[in-house]
């Protein structure tokens, strides 16, 4: 194989595809994966690295071509050995009790476990109520210079804040569905 310093032929609008396009020239000179709209694959520039976020929530307004962002794909590689989806079934002062579902091999039976609350970030702890879900990942981290380290990570499932109107809609729908289920249950008598 060879890598050329020219770009592949351009796609037309019908070919616009939700994929992350690549080009060999890009790979030849950088460890960055270009992310661009396939509608125009002709421009590839570096994302300007000096755009650092200001903690005061101030957004720097600056000129940037939308084709210019890139993802640095260098660095270490995480090799995932096993991952569980953990459903919180209870908690006490020090630990949370959870049911573990193996995401690496869904055929494995569910297990039960306890995890110290101190294993979680300060942000996550108050959210670890019954029914909350978190992910437990274990594996190895291969660093750029070849060193291998083990890792174990706990991450709470992100659940969006739902507006009060949406909550009302969901409650109404649940009530309606509940009514349907009750009416279809074997012991239901008309007029109940």
């Amino acid at each position: 194989m060879i890598a050329e310093a020219t770009l592949p032929s351009l796609c037309n609008e019908q070919d616009r595809s939700p994929s992350l396009p690549t080009d060999s020239a890009r790979w030849a000179v950088s460890r960055s994966l270009a992310v661009e709209s396939e509608a125009t694959t002709s421009h590839l520039l570096e994302q300007e690295k000096d755009t650092q976020f200001d903690k005061a929530d101030i957004v720097k307004v600056r000129t940037i071509d939308k084709q210019t962002a890139s993802i640095d794909i260098g660095g270490s590689l995480k090799m995932l050995d096993q991952q569980w989806e953990c459903v919180v079934v209870g908690r006490d002062d020090e630990t949370i009790h959870c049911e573990l579902h193996d995401l690496s091999d869904p055929d494995n039976e569910s297990e039960y476990g306890e995890v110290f609350l101190t294993e979680f970030s300060e942000y996550d702890r108050p959210r670890l109520k019954e029914g909350a879900v978190f992910y437990w990942s274990v594996g190895r981290l291969r660093e750029e210079h070849g060193q291998i380290r083990k890792f174990s990570e706990l991450r709470l499932r992100p659940t969006p804040r739902i507006s009060q109107a949406a909550q009302r809609r969901i409650a109404e729908r649940a009530k309606k569905l509940n009514g349907i289920f009750q009416r279809s249950s074997p012991g239901y008598l008309p007029g109940q």
Binding site: A3, L20, W27, K66, I71, L103
Partner: protein, 230 residues
């Protein structure tokens, strides 16, 4: 013969539709509890404007323009979070008109040696025809488009590119592309629901398929030697 080595996995979900990049800001995600406030405060590589927004939080790269939303991670352990985040954003932006979704799984490998690197290129793009047209032809990239009969995706693209990183690198990208042409353009809720169903039902099988596809392609580098000058 030693084996190839995986260098990087890049996993992404890309949506096409009509987006408002201006609202895609780390603090908006924090306000809606999709990321922690602490993480939002240390977002990296941030550029948020009315027509384009990009930043990185907790190993997740967000990129949004007016026609395209992309969420990418190179950390395999973050994949469930990636899926949950896309679902969460769609829940919040339930009135966003969507046109297509792409599931993407990309791989970077280092081949064991330059011979297997060349062999892969020769197998995927045989040179016998090209040799009549060009001196010293070499594969600079291949994309094959097809479908998987058992999957309702519109098409599947597999790309293979060489990586000139001095490590006999190869990029393999798998894109499973869905379109919603069968739904009326005003059926926003149905399109939204379709995306959620795809993420729930097709994602795992897609990942398994992408891994199999990458392995199958790399097998070409182990096939019997094909003479470069054939």
């Amino acid at each position: 013969m030693s084996e190839h080595q995986i260098q990087q996995k890049i996993i992404s979900i890309v949506l096409l539709g009509d987006f408002n990049p201006a609202i895609f800001h780390p603090q908006w995600l924090a306000f809606n509890e999709l990321v922690s406030k602490e993480s939002a405060n240390v977002a990296k590589n941030m550029s948020c404007q009315s027509e384009f927004s990009a930043f990185e939080i907790d190993g997740m790269h967000y990129q949004v323009d007016q026609q395209r939303f992309g969420l990418t991670t190179k950390d395999e352990s973050q994949v469930p979070i990636l899926l949950d985040t896309v679902k969460g954003i769609l829940t919040l932006l339930e009135h966003t008109p969507l046109q297509a979704i792409g599931l993407n799984y990309d791989f970077r490998y280092s081949m064991a040696d330059v011979q297997s690197w060349d062999r892969l290129g020769h197998t995927l793009a045989p040179k016998d025809h090209w040799s009549k047209l060009l001196a010293d032809p070499g594969m600079a990239g291949v994309m094959i488009r097809g479908a998987r009969p058992e999957v309702p995706a519109a098409r599947l693209d597999i790309r293979v590119n060489p990586i000139m990183d001095g490590k006999n690198g190869v990029f393999i990208g798998v894109n499973q592309h869905y379109r919603f042409d069968d739904l009326d353009s005003t059926a926003i809720a149905q399109r939204n629901e379709r995306v959620l169903n795809i993420l729930d039902q097709d994602w795992r099988a897609f990942c398994n398929y992408a891994l199999q596809a990458a392995n199958e392609i790399l097998r070409a580098s182990r096939l019997t030697e094909i003479d470069r000058d054939c």
